[in-house]
């Protein structure tokens, strides 16, 4: 009886401490809106964001992402420069998913028309176990005559899948 109690309490506390140590490593505290891991079968999320290519003297920053959103800070140096990001979305659950909404927008304060961005198409259907990649390309327009004061573009995107 006493032994069982100790094992249960001990296991619970060890598991919680290990999880908490891990959480302190990964988490941006309370940025969990748009995340639902409560369901066992549903698990579609952004799993990785990488910088595919970056022109000389440009700064791709460190893209930040949650399960359903991603933010880039692209700092470009001169006309013609570009940075390309790859966003991987995976269906890690057991339910087939379809794209419900994809929305990208730029920071209104930091924005400049001299830097443009384009997004590739993303898979409409994402069967259980599959993954898809979205490409975001930011470009300092080559024909820019008067360089803007700020050459950084902040882009945020949300990608929402629902059950097929």
């Amino acid at each position: 009886m006493k032994s069982a109690k100790n094992i249960i309490i001990g296991s619970l506390l060890i598991a919680l401490v290990v999880m908490s140590i891990g959480y302190s490593n990964f988490a941006s505290k309370l940025t969990i809106n748009g995340t639902t891991e409560i369901t066992g079968e549903w698990n579609v999320k952004i799993t990785n964001v990488t910088v595919e290519s970056v022109s000389d003297q440009c700064d791709a920053g460190s893209p930040q992402f949650t399960d359903t959103s991603v933010t880039f800070n692209a700092k470009l140096h001169k006309p013609g420069d570009s940075i390309t990001y790859l966003v991987t979305i995976e269906n890690l659950g057991t339910i087939d998913a379809v794209l419900n909404n994809i929305n990208f927008y730029e920071d209104g304060i930091n924005g400049t028309d001299a830097i443009n961005y384009t997004t590739s198409e993303v898979a409409y259907e994402l069967a259980a176990g599959e993954k898809t990649t979205l490409t975001i390309n930011t470009e300092y327009l080559p024909d820019t005559v008067e360089p803007p004061e700020i050459t950084t573009k902040t882009i945020t995107g949300t990608i929402e899948y629902v059950q097929k």
């Binding site: 009886m1 109690k5 249960i8 309490i9 619970l12 506390l13 598991a15 919680l16 290990v18 999880m19 908490s20 140590i21 891990g22 959480y23 302190s24 490593n25 990964f26 988490a27 941006s28 505290k29 309370l30 969990i32 809106n33 748009g34 995340t35 639902t36 891991e37 409560i38 369901t39 066992g40 079968e41 549903w42 698990n43 579609v44 799993t47 990785n48 920053g61 460190s62 930040q64 399960d67 800070n73 995976e90 890690l92 659950g93 057991t94 339910i95 087939d96 998913a97 069967a127 259980a128 176990g129 929402e160 899948y161 629902v162 059950q163 097929k164």
Partner: protein
Amino acid sequence: MITIYLIFSSITISLIIIYILLKLNLNLFTVNNRKVLFILFFIYTILTIVLYVKNLSIYKNIVNPLFWILILIYLIIYKKDYFFHLSNKKKQIMFTIVISVIFVVFDFTIGLITGFTKSPYNHHLDSIIKNFFTIIIPLIGLEYSRCFLIIKYKHNKVSIIFITLLFILMEINYRTLINTFFNKELFFQYICSTILPIIANNILYTYLVFNSNYPLPLIYKIINKLMLIFAFFLPSMDWYMVGSLSLIKVTLFYVIYKYKFTKEKKYRNKNSFVLLTYAFTLGFATIFISFMLGLFKYEPIAILSNSMSPTFRRGDVVIFKKENSNKLTNGNIIIYSLENKFIAHRIIKTIDNNNSISFITKGDANNTPDYKNVQPNQIKGVYVFHIKYIGYPSIWLKQYFSNSKMY
């Protein structure tokens, strides 16, 4: 339409198989050999692992529901005594319903703090039918089988452990396990949010069936699944919340059930003390989780470098208080985020430019200020105090993941 077609064809196939077995009079199942079902589950578990990896869609939509329909039919036809004469456990059933509903309400109450998000489940009729077929039916078959096996093997401890292990293995999503295996961060999250709760839940389910001789886990699971399938909004939870709350809920269920349905009266008084110990542990765990999640005004952060030495050093944990940037002055140590990292440095100068405030910061041990000014929206809080050395486990884990986010 495809969904309905798949469902009907699967049910038809299963009925045909049963009919053929009856006609052939193979006596396969009528043999009073409890090992048959056991071996069948073992083979099916291996098949599950293979199919999860090879063709998840066929497994989830056809093979799995079909298998459990067959098992249910088998139990109904050949194990009538078991299936229809499960002793009525009104008190336990009511208790399980009440606890399950309380847990659902608890999840939604959490949503009031963390927010809600639209349910990913489709609410069209064909999707509801599909969910019923692919989620609810297997669940019923699985829980009745668990109950049957545990009752049959009740006096053999090794078999009970083996049955629990078997059901744990049947619930794991092997494709996700493999997909996340090579990404240490995702793998850790998957283990914490899914595998640990599966293990804890299955131990609880075994305990419930063992003690009640009734498929109580079915009631608990059905209420949870129905909430998921039919709710239009679900509480936002990240992996840490899901994992830790699952463990707490399992322990809570176990403690209350054990206390309420302990048969021996002589243990009652003793159990009051045990219950108090559990209550204290669970209360502490809940407060600890809330603290880690940042639900309080104070939050912890592990320090990775000696840039603020001698005030605090690598391996210390700093407790900071969420504070409005208007209240900050030169000399305050602030915690701010930069490119998904947390930095704890001292304000050396405040720049007020046309009502737009920013801060120049510097580590006490650094020779130069930080290369970027800190904007108010980056600030997480202000340093309150620190605890020496307890941040080292976090640092070691960080080094293991090679994904530094703190300076």
